[in-house]
Amino acid sequence: MKNKLKVLRAERDMTQADLADSLMVSRQTINAIEKGKFDPSLPLAFKISKLFELPIEQIFDDSEID
């Protein structure tokens, strides 16, 4: 699934490690989500949504889902 995580992180001048610490996940997980290799669970997606103060649909692009 495509997402704006990398852009949102860059706008806030955060490294992958900073974001990983904020969300209590590994840096590898953040990297995999940004590259679209791994889709986060709903609880993690809500955590990301709360952290960036944006609705989930503005972070994740669900256009590939039928």
């Binding site: 209590m24 590994s26 993690l44």
Partner: protein, 108 residues
């Protein structure tokens, strides 16, 4: 493991009580290892848990298929000597480690 395996022969001369105690101790240590592994997996994040689960699934599949094939080869006398459980343990361990490395690289 070595204590329970070699003890009866070299330490207590095939005394059944001591052998049973050694096997019970070995089993308790094994149960502790399983508990520690569960604790370890529970503190991992969701991607790491997925990598672990995939690796365990592959190791289980390889273990069942490889183990049954190995046992069949023994029954059919394709291999010389009896099938040893140690080979199955090695096969599962190696396939689990390879699957872990592949999983880590896939999400890198």
């Amino acid at each position: 493991m070595a204590f329970a395996t070699f003890g009866p022969k070299f330490l207590w001369e095939l005394n059944t009580t001591w052998s049973m105690l050694a096997i019970l101790l070995n089993t308790a240590l094994g149960a502790g290892m399983i508990w520690a592994n569960i604790k370890h997996i529970s503190v991992l994040d969701e991607l790491q848990q997925k990598i672990q689960l995939d690796a365990m699934g592959i190791a289980l599949g390889v273990g069942i298929v490889g183990g049954l094939s190995y046992s069949t080869m023994d029954n059919a006398n394709v291999i010389s000597g009896d099938a040893e459980i140690g080979f199955l343990v090695i096969l599962i361990s190696v396939s689990y480690m390879i699957a872990l490395v592949v999983g880590k690289k896939r999400y890198a």
